[in-house]
Structure formats: C-alpha cells, structure tokens
Amino acid sequence: MMSEKHLTNEQIEAYIEQGLDAWAHEHLAVCARCRARTARAQRVETALQTLPRAETPRDLAARICAVIELRVAQEEARRARMPLIAVATFFSALLAVWFGLEMLFVLEDNGALYFASLLASQPELLSTYSFDAVFALIELLPIGEIALTLFALLTALILAQQLVETARPPALAFK
C-alpha cells in the first residue's frame, strides 16, 4: 500500500547518502512523485561529486616552495645573527658606560661640573665673567670623552634596535 505521506527533503538527502531507510525504500517503490524528486536530487548529487577543481596556475607550487625556502633561510640567518648582535649590544652599552664615567671624572677633575652647578643655581653669575673666561672653561671640556660616550651610546642603541628586530619573528604576511 502506498504511503500517503511524501518524503521530506531531508529524508531524500538521507536516502541518497545512506540509502538504508527501509520505509523510504518502500515508499519510493510505490510513489512516482518522490521517485522523480529523488532522481533529481541524485543527479545534482552526482554532478556535485564530479565538480572539477579550478585550474591551478602551473608553477604555483614551485613558487610557493621557493618563497618558503627563502623564508626559512632568512629565518635561519636571523637566528644565527642573534647571539652576535646581543654580544655586540652588550659591549657597546658597556663601552658607553665606561666612556660616560670617564667623561664625568674629567669634568669633576677640571671643575667643570662644579661650575655648571654654580651657574645653574646662580645664572646671573654668567654676566660677571668675560668671554675669554667662558671660552677657557669650554676648552676645559673633555671633547674626546664626550664624543666617545655619544658614539658608544649611539652604537648601543642601534644594536639594541637590531636585536629587538631580530628577536621578533618577521610577519608571515607577504605581498
């Protein structure tokens, strides 16, 4: 006897995928309408199963391999560079401290620090000095030590920046 209830879309999908439902099987045997619907769904299912892939550019895999190998080589070089940059940063910072301290000792020895603190507390004193005296004081500044300190400091900063960039893995996005 033909069942009065037709198969739902869900039952048809399940029947196509699993094909095990005895009730659906019996119903299809006697119901032309559901048989036609199932046949249509089956045809779409078959067409979907044989859908072709989009055509891939022929050299895409080779290009990807090349990019990956380049990135890996860059990454290895980055890792190899890191200890060297870290040591160089450390020694540059050490040199900057060393030259800085030396500069401070010289400034202390020749009285420039004392004079600077005096001027800071009493700026009106400056007007009582002649230009020659001021120039003589400037000549007392340890230019060599100051230059070396600044140079070492700059080197340490640049190396520290390099170290941070090297320690941070590069963004993997590419364009």
Partner: protein
C-alpha cells in the same frame, strides 16, 4: 606494486626533523586543493594564490606548535578558511558574517516537484551550471559544498574546519543543495570566470 605514499603527518614529522623535501611534497599535494578552495570562496584568482601561499607560510611559522598526531589536512584548510574570511572582510564583496546564520524555515518548502529545464541538460552542461550557481551561494554554503564534494572531507572534518556543530554542517549542506536546485530551476546562467573549466 607501487610504493605507498607517505601520509601528511609523516611528511610533516620528517619536515620537523629537517627534511625540506617532505614539505615540498606537502606543498605539491595541497596547492591545487587549497587554491581551488580559496578560489571558490573568493572568486579571485590572485587572492586565491596569495591565500594558498600564505597558508603554507603559516604552517611553517607554527611548525613547533603543530601536532603530528592529529590530522593535518583539516588543520590546513582551517588556516585557509580563516585567511579567506580575512580577505573577504577586506574585500567586502564576500560576506562571511552570516556564517552560522540560517533561516529556520529555509528548507520546509517541498522543492523539485515539477520537471525543470536542467533535467534536459547533459552532465557536462549541468556541472557548468552548478559551478555558476555555486558562485551565487552564500560563502558558508560554498565552503561546505567545496569541502564535501571537491575535497572529499567527512562531515566531522568539515565541522572541525568550519568550527561548527556537526548538525549545522549537515543542515548547511542540505540547504546548499536545495538552493542550488532552486537556482538551477529559476536563475539564468551566470557568466563564467576566466578559470572555469
């Protein structure tokens, strides 16, 4: 007898141990599937190339964290899907916002009762029409259909890739096919893209 192909997980483990040929084999194995997946989702050949490449780069970047005791293929497609979502958001042409959304009554109508024009089509023609119709489907349905029918993933794997419950994946696939059949019945053929077969 042909030698057995190494599994993805074996290749990945070999690459982790320092064999670059193993990763090359993985790239060759998955470039076409990933490209196809991205192309079907975004409809843009250049973007699909970028996403395919970026997917592998992400794998290399996360190599230390990837577990070789878990299936690699769903993981790979999940990365690609996330990249497609990001690209879709940037382009704004492909919406991934309604990923989980579905009209609760979308499939309650009984379809396919009357014979349709597509029934007269040859298989080749029907595939071309299906391809064009797929481009008009929401991204969530296109993703599910491509993963299921072109890449042959199981429902469980698709659920894992799309990060959706298994039943939602079943619903997506069922509704996607119903929408396809409706489109085949009602819509005029869409113009083809340059990469269409």
């Amino acid at each position: 007898m042909l030698p057995m192909e190494p599994t993805d997980e074996t290749l990945l483990a070999q690459y982790k141990q320092g064999d670059p040929r193993a990763f090359r084999a993985l790239v060759e194995r998955y470039t076409a599937p990933l490209y196809n997946f991205a192309f079907r989702l975004l409809g843009d050949a250049m973007e699909a190339e970028n996403i395919t490449q970026e997917t592998f780069l992400r794998v290399v970047g996360a190599l230390d964290r990837i577990r070789t005791d878990l299936p690699f293929k769903p993981y790979l497609f999940r990365i690609a899907l996330n990249l497609c979502r990001d690209a879709g958001r940037k382009k704004r042409a492909v919406s991934f916002d309604d990923w989980r959304a579905d009209s609760p009554h979308a499939d309650e109508v009984m379809l396919d009762d009357a014979p349709a024009l597509w029934e007269q089509m040859a298989d080749e023609e029907l595939r071309a029409e299906l391809h064009a119709a797929m481009e008009r489907l929401p991204a969530r349905y296109r993703a599910a259909l491509t993963l299921r029918y072109v890449e042959g993933f199981s429902y469980a794997e698709i659920a894992q890739i799309l990060n959706l419950p298994l039943n939602t994946v079943r619903t997506h696939l069922r509704r996607a096919k119903q929408q396809l059949r409706t489109m085949l019945r009602t819509a005029p053929p869409a113009p083809r893209g340059p990469n269409d077969e």
